[in-house]
Amino acid sequence: MEKALLSGNEAIARGAWEAGAEVAAAYPGTPSTEILQAFATFDDVYAEWSANEKVALDVAVGAAYAGKRALAAMKHVGLNVASEVLFYSSYTGINAGLVIVTADDPGMHSSQNEQDNRNYARFAKVPMLEPSDSQEAKDFTILAYELSEEYDTPVMIRSTTRVSHAKSLVALGERTVHPQRKYERNPAKYVMIPSNARGRHPVIEERIRKLREWAETAEINRIVWGDRKLGIISAGAAYNYAREVFPNASFLKLGMAWPLPERLIREFAAGVEQLIVVEELDPFIEDWVRRLGIQVRGKDIFPMVGEFTLDVVRESAEKAGLLPPSGRKPAPPLADLPPRPPVMCAGCGHRDVFWILRKLKVVVNSDIGCYSLAVLPPLDTTDTIGCMGASIGVASGMTIAGLGKFRGRPRRNVAVIGDSTFFHTGLPALASAVYNQTPVTVIVLDNRNTGMTGHQGNPASGDTLQGRPGKRIDIAEVARAMGVEYVATVESRDWPALEKAIREALDFPGPAVVVSHDICVFREHYTREPYRIIEDACNGCTLCFRIGCPAIMKSKVIDVESGRPKAYIDPAQCVGCGQCYDVCARQAIEPGAPIEFNL
C-alpha cells in the first residue's frame, strides 16, 4: 500500500476524497486553510472559497441534501459564524454524508481566542471525532461519512494546530464512488418552521442516544492496558504527549469527542487505581466523567490555558507527584536577542493608509487580516480588533456614542476593513449603518486577496479556488448600491488623494466609504527598481524607520553631526514602492529607475 507523509489537513482532504466527497466549501482560516487547498487538487470534485463560513456550511448542507457527500472546513472561530447552520442541520439531518471540520488553535498561534469547539458538539447534539495524527485524520474522516449517513446527521471532525499542521505517515487508499442519492422533497424534515422543528427535536435526542451506544464499542475508543496504578483518559493532540510522558500507564484513548461513552469509561475507571484526564483547554471529558460519579483528576493538574507540549504535560505531572522529579533543568533561553515579530511586507499598501490615519489621530476600529499588524510599533495605530467584520459595527457604536472629547478636542473614529473581511461580515454592518444613517467612516483596504492566510481568492479578486471563471465585485459600486452617498476610490500610494478622501469622509454627515486600492506585493508589482539612500543628504533622522518597512534598516555609516546611524535600504527586500521617499523630509532618498516591461 502506498504511504505518504501528510499533514493532518492534507489527510482530512484525502479522507474526504477517498470517501467519495464531491463538494467542499470553506473560508480560509489558520490552521484549517490547507484542507480545501488540498481537496481542490483532486479529480472529480468541486471546491470553493465561500464569502464566509456560514455560507460555506450552507453550501455543503445543500450539496448533502441534494445527495452528494460534502465537506465544510473552518477554523474554530469560523464555526461561530457558521453555528446557526450547524444547529439547523443537526435538526434536519442530511441525505448524503456531511462532514464539518473545525480546526482549533490552542495557544492562539493566529487567532483571537482559544475556544474549545468540542463544546459545539454537545451544544448542537452532533457527533464529533477527534484524530491525534494524520492517519487517524484520514481514517476518521472516512468513518465520519459512514456515521453521517447511518445516523442521518452532520458529523464534526475536530482538529487542532498540532494535528492540522503536523505531518506523519498515512496509508493511502482508493476513492470509493457513491452514486448520487435521490433527493426527495420532505418538508417535515427539511423545512424548520416551528411545527416541523418540534417534530425533529425528539429525533435528534434519540439519535445522540444511539450514537452514545455506538461509542461504547467503537474501535476508535480503545483501552490500552498497561500499569494499572495510573489510568489516563486522553484524546487528540494531548494523547501524543501523554503517551510519551507516561509510557507505562493504562490508556483510554477516545477517538470520539462526543457523545462520550458511559460503560466504557466505567470499565476503565474500575480497572485502575488512579484516574486522570489529559486534555487540552476545557475539562470536557473530565466534566463528563465526574458526572458519572467517578473520582477523577484533570484540570487541577494540567492547565486550562494555552497549548500543551511534552514539557507542559511532564512538568504538571511532576508537580502533582504523578511522576518522580526528573531533575532535568533545560538551559534558559538565550537572553537579549532582538525580537522578530511579523511585519507588513515591504511595499504593502496597508502601510499607506495607517500612516495617514496615524497623522489624523483618529480612533481606529480595525478588523482581522494582515492590517491587524498595524497595532504593533512603529505604526501603533489601532484601537480595537475583535472578530471578522466587527470593525464597522463597533465603529458605528462609537460614532453613535459620540466618543466625547479627547484632550479637549473632538476625536473621530474610522472603521478599517480588508476586502475579504468586508465581504465576509462587513456587508450587513454597512447595510445597518446606511439604513440607520449612522455617519460612520469606513475605509476598505482593497488589496484583492485574502492575504494573511496565504493570498486566496475572494469576491474582490474574482479568482476562484479551482481556477473556474469567477467574477470580481467592485466594492465602491457595492457601497453606492447600498445607498452610501459619499464613496471615494483612491490609490493608497497617492497620499494627498488618500488623506483628502479620508478627511472628506470624516466630515460627511452620513455613512461614508473610502475604498483604498492597496497593492499586495504577492499579487501586483511596482514599476521601479529598488530605492537608494543618498548618504550625503541623510542625517539619520529616523523618520523613514517609522513607517516600519522591513527593507529599511540602520546603516553602518554614522552621521557626523547627529551622531545617529544613517538609513540603508536593502536592495534585496525593496520592491520600489516609494513610501520611504514620500516620508523623507530631506530628499535623501533616490527613486529607483523605472522598470522596462517587455510585454
Binding site: 507523509l5 537579549d336 536577542l337 496565504g454 518597512c549
Partner: protein
Amino acid sequence: MSMTNFLVTGVGGQGTLLAADIIAQVGLAQGLDAKKSEVHGMAQRGGVVVSHVRWGEKVHSPLIALGTADFLIGQEVVEGGRFLHYLKPGGVLLLSSETLPPPSLTLSKMEYPPAQKVIDAARQITDRIIFIAAPKLAEELGNRRVANTILLGALSAQMPDVDPKFWLDVIVRRVPQKAVEVNRKAFELGRKMGQEI
C-alpha cells in the same frame, strides 16, 4: 526507546519547512516512523519559523521537549540562538552564518548580535558546533537557494549511520529538475564542511 530529534529554525522565506520535510522523509526512507510539526500563518510576514522533526520506531508527540534536540539546524544566526535551549547537552548545532536583521532593530537601541555570542552560548551546552558560511558557499556555487542543501549535507555528515544515498534521493525528489545538479554539489560540499568540528 531511541528517538532522534531535530529542530530547524529560520525566518519566513528561508525554506525552513522544506528542509524539515526533507529530514522527515529521510527518516521514513530508512523505514522509521517520523513526524514533523510547525506553525503556519504569520510566518510569511518575515516572522520566526520553527519546525520540529522526530525519527523513531514509533513517534507519538510531533513536538520535541526542551533540551532534547539531537540536532539544531539554525538557518540564521539569531534564530539559531533563539532556540539553543532546545539543544540536548552534547547535541549538534549547525549554524548558518546568514544574518537577517529584524526590522524591530531600526527603532531600538538593540544591535544584531555577532554570531560569536550564539556560539559562545552554545559551548555551554555542547562542543559539537559547526558554523557554516552557507550563503557565501551557495553563492559560489551560483545559487543562493542551495544554502539549505549545504546545511543538510553537513547534517548528513554528522549522522554516519545514515547512508548519504537516502539524503540525496529525497533532495533530488524535492528540488526543481534544473537545480538537481547544483543541489548535488551543495550537498557534497556540505558533507565536507560537516566533517570538521
